[in-house]
C-alpha cells in the first residue's frame, strides 16, 4: 500500500511497528503504520487518548526505537543512522511537546532554554546563539529583552507554548512534529497559538505533523488528516474531503462527537458508550469492531487494509461509508 502524495515526500513512514513491554505483556502502541508527508504540507494526526499518536511521533524522531519499519526523512532511513549522521539529520526535525509547562526546565532561564538546541548542535559562538534566540523569540511574539532572563513559572500556559515553539525553531528545522500543542490551552489562547503556528510555517517554510484529539482544531491547520485508532490508521484524506465524506465509521463517530456552538443542533446520542479496548490484547480483525455499528463476521476475522475509496482518500474498512 503506497499512499503516494508526492514524487519525493519529505517524510515517509513505512510499516512502522512500535511496542512497549510492561510486566511481561506487550502493548501494541503502533502497528504497521505507513504515511507520507509532502514538502510544505501539514498532515494532521487525530485519535483518542492512548491510540499511539505520541508514540508514532517519538518513533519518527528516533526517541523511541521501532520494532520494525522504516522512517525515511529526505530519502535517508533514520532507523539505520547512527552517531554523527543521525545527529545531523535530527537537527532538521524538531518536536513541540504536549504539555508546554512541564516541558520547560523550571530552574533555567528562558534565554538558556531556547538556546539549548544550539549548544547541543555545537554552535560555539555566544553572539551567534544570542542572535538566533532573539530572532525566534521575536518571531513568536515575545520581547527577547524582557523574557530572556526570566524563569518558566513567570509565564502563562500560552506564553510557555510560545517559548516551546521558539525553542523548536532555533535550529532552522525543516520538519516539526507538534504533539497536541493546544490541548492544554483554553479557547482564546488556542486560537492565538494556532495562528502563530501557521505564521511560523509560512515564514520558515516548514513541513508539519500536527497531532491532536480535536478534529476541528486539526482541520483548521491541516492539508490532509490521518485518523488513528488503537495503533492503526483508519483513514487518510484531504481535510475538506474527510469532513464532507468520511469513509471510516470511526471518523464519522469522531465528527459527530464535536460539540457544535448552536443550540438548534441537538447533540447526538448515538456515540457508543464503551471505551477503546486494551492495546495489550487488541480485538482480532478490525480493531474498531467492538464499537462499530457496521461490524460483521468478516470484521472479526480479517484485518482491513488501507485502500483507496476516492481520489486521495484511503480507508481501512471492509464496509466503508463511501
Amino acid at each position: 500500500m503506497m499512499l503516494q502524495v508526492a514524487s519525493d515526500p519529505l517524510m515517509k513512514v513505512e510499516n512502522l511497528v512500535v511496542e512497549y513491554s510492561v510486566g511481561g505483556k506487550t502493548i501494541h502502541a503502533v502497528s504497521d503504520v505507513s504515511l507520507e508527508i509532502a514538502r510544505g504540507e501539514t498532515l494532521g494526526l487525530v485519535g483518542e487518548s492512548g491510540c499511539g499518536k505520541s508514540t508514532l511521533g517519538r518513533a519518527v524522531l528516533q526517541l523511541r526505537q521501532a520494532v520494525s519499519g522504516k522512517v525515511l526523512f529526505d530519502g535517508h532511513d533514520l532507523t539505520t543512522l547512527k552517531g554523527e549522521a543521525l545527529r545531523q539529520m535530527r537537527r532538521r526535525v524538531q518536536l513541540i511537546f504536549q504539555d508546554p509547562i512541564a516541558s520547560l526546565n523550571p530552574r533555567r532561564r528562558i534565554g538558556d532554554i531556547v538556546a539549548e538546541p544550539l549548544v547541543i548542535a555545537g554552535v560555539k559562538d555566544p553572539e551567534e546563539r544570542k542572535r538566533r534566540v532573539s530572532e525566534v523569540l521575536s518571531a513568536v511574539g515575545l520581547d527577547p529583552v524582557l523574557v530572556s532572563g526570566r524563569l518558566p513559572h513567570e509565564f502563562s500556559g500560552g506564553q510557555c507554548q510560545r517559548i516551546c515553539i521558539a525553542r523548536s525553531l532555533v535550529l532552522n528545522p525543516e520538519f516539526v512534529i507538534c504533539d497536541e500543542p493546544v490541548s492544554a490551552l483554553d479557547v482564546s489562547i488556542r486560537a492565538q497559538i494556532l495562528n502563530l503556528l501557521e505564521e511560523m510555517k509560512a515564514r520558515y517554510g516548514l513541513t508539519l505533523l500536527f497531532i491532536a484529539h480535536d478534529l476541528a482544531v486539526v482541520k483548521a491547520v491541516s492539508d490532509r488528516v490521518a485518523v488513528m485508532y488503537l495503533g492503526r490508521l483508519c483513514e487518510v484524506a484531504p481535510s475538506e474531503q474527510l469532513f464532507a465524506r468520511p469513509a471510516h465509521p470511526y471518523t464519522a463517530l469522531l465528527i459527530e462527537a464535536i460539540p457544535v456552538p448552536d443550540p438548534d443542533v441537538r447533540p447526538t446520542q448515538s456515540v457508543p458508550v464503551g471505551e477503546p479496548p486494551s492495546p495489550i490484547a487488541p480485538p482480532s480483525g478490525c480493531r474498531f469492531r467492538t464499537r462499530c455499528p457496521r461490524a460483521d463476521a468478516r470484521c472479526a476475522s480479517e484485518v482491513p487494509e488501507l485502500r483507496v475509496v476516492a481520489p486521495g482518500q484511503y480507508a481501512a474498512c471492509h464496509h466503508p461509508l463511501v
Binding site: V187, N195, F243, P259, P261, G274
Partner: protein
C-alpha cells in the same frame, strides 16, 4: 429570583496576594431552579472555579466571601462547618476537572462509594454495596461489580470521571456543580460524559451548573448561560436567546475564536488578542476594553453595569452592544 433552588446574590471573593488584593469574583448574581441547567463560560482565570467554590463554601482559608448564597431557603455563608459537610455530601455535589481531585487514590472505588452512601443515607452495607453497583452501571461502567475492588489509578481518565460522577450522584443531590468535567477528556468521551450528566439531571430533576471555556459545550445542553470575564458576569441569557442574539462583544469573540468545521483549512482564526487584565490591578473602565474592537468613549473610564436586552432574562454589561441582526 425567588423560588430558585440556588440563588447567588451579590457574591464577591477577595484573596490577599503578595501583589495586593485579588478580587476573583466581583458582584455576581445568579440563580438556578430545580431541573434546570446553567452554563458558566469564560477564559481561564476569569473566576469560574472560585465562584463554584464560593457556592460550595470550599474557598481557600484566606479568602474573604461577601454576599449571600441562598440554597433551598438557607444562606450557606452562615452555616456551621458541620452542617455544611452534611449538606455537601447529601444535597450539593461537585465534579471537578481532574477526577483525582474528588477521588481518593488509596481507597478502592467500592470503599469510596459505599462510605459516601453510608455517611449520608440510612443503608446497611449490603444495601449500600448494591446501590454502588447500580450507580456504576448507570454511569456506563462495564462490569460494575468487579470495579468495586479496583483503585482509581487502574482506570482510564474517562472511567475515573464516570466514577467521580457516580460518587457525586450517590446521595441524590439537589444541585450538581460540574467544573470543566470534560476539559481533560477526548471528544468522544466528552460527548459520553455530557450525555450522561444530562440524562441523570433529567431523571433526578436535579439543578446543574456546567462550567466550561467552550461555548460549544453549553450550546445544546443548558437552559441558561452566564458568561464571565475578569470575575464578573458580563452577559446572561436563556441559551437560545444568547446564541441567536449575543450582545456582549466578549461573548461574540469567544464564539468566533472556536475553530469551525465549515471553514476551509488555513483560514486564520479570529483570536482574541492579549490576556485578561491582572486581577490585582482592576481597570477603571470595562475590563474587556484593552481587547475589545468596539471600545470607545466611556469604555475606558466607566464600568458598564448589567442591563436588560429585549427581555428581563437577557442581560449584558456593555456600552456599545452588538446591534440587533449582527453578531452570531
Amino acid at each position: 429570583m425567588s423560588g430558585a433552588l440556588l440563588s447567588v446574590e451579590n457574591v464577591m471573593v477577595d484573596l490577599p496576594t503578595p501583589r495586593g488584593n485579588l478580587r476573583a469574583v466581583d458582584h455576581v448574581d445568579l440563580a438556578v431552579g430545580a431541573g434546570r441547567t446553567l452554563g458558566i463560560v469564560g477564559e481561564s482565570g476569569c473566576g469560574k472555579t472560585m465562584l463554584s467554590r464560593a457556592i460550595l463554601q470550599l474557598l481557600p482559608k484566606k479568602a474573604k466571601l461577601s454576599g449571600r448564597v441562598m440554597f433551598d431557603g438557607q444562606d450557606l455563608t452562615g452555616l456551621s462547618a458541620e452542617k455544611l459537610r452534611k449538606l455537601r455530601g447529601r444535597s450539593l455535589a461537585v465534579v471537578f476537572q481532574d477526577p483525582m481531585t474528588s477521588l481518593n487514590p488509596v481507597l478502592t472505588i467500592g470503599t469510596q462509594l459505599i462510605e459516601t452512601i453510608q455517611e449520608h443515607l440510612e443503608l446497611d452495607l449490603a444495601q449500600a454495596r448494591q446501590r454502588s453497583i447500580e450507580l456504576l452501571a448507570a454511569v456506563g461502567i462495564p462490569a460494575p461489580e468487579q470495579r468495586l475492588a479496583q483503585y482509581p489509578h487502574q482506570l482510564s481518565g474517562g472511567m475515573r470521571q464516570r466514577v467521580a460522577i457516580a460518587v457525586a450522584l450517590s446521595c441524590e443531590p439537589q444541585l450538581l456543580i460540574a467544573d470543566e468535567p470534560t476539559t481533560a477528556l477526548d471528544v468522544t468521551i466528552q460527548a459520553q460524559i455530557l450525555d450522561l450528566l444530562a440524562r441523570e439531571q433529567q431523571r433526578r430533576h436535579m439543578a446543574m451548573i456546567i462550567i466550561t471555556h467552550d461555548l460549544g459545550v453549553v450550546a445544546g445542553r443548558t437552559d441558561e448561560v452566564a458568561v464571565m470575564y475578569a470575575g464578573r458576569v458580563v452577559e446572561r441569557a436563556p441559551t437560545p436567546a444568547l446564541f441567536k442574539r449575543m450582545r456582549m462583544p466578549y461573548t461574540e469573540a469567544l464564539l468566533a475564536a472556536l475553530p469551525k468545521l465549515d471553514v476551509a483549512p488555513h483560514t486564520p482564526l479570529p483570536a482574541i488578542s492579549g490576556r485578561p487584565p491582572d486581577p490585582t490591578r482592576p481597570l477603571k473602565g470595562c475590563s474587556f476594553s484593552p481587547r475589545c474592537r468596539y471600545s470607545a468613549g466611556r469604555c475606558t473610564t466607566e464600568k458598564p453595569q448589567l442591563s436588560p436586552a429585549e427581555t428581563q432574562e437577557h442581560v449584558y454589561a456593555c456600552f456599545h452592544p452588538i446591534a440587533a441582526g449582527a453578531g452570531a
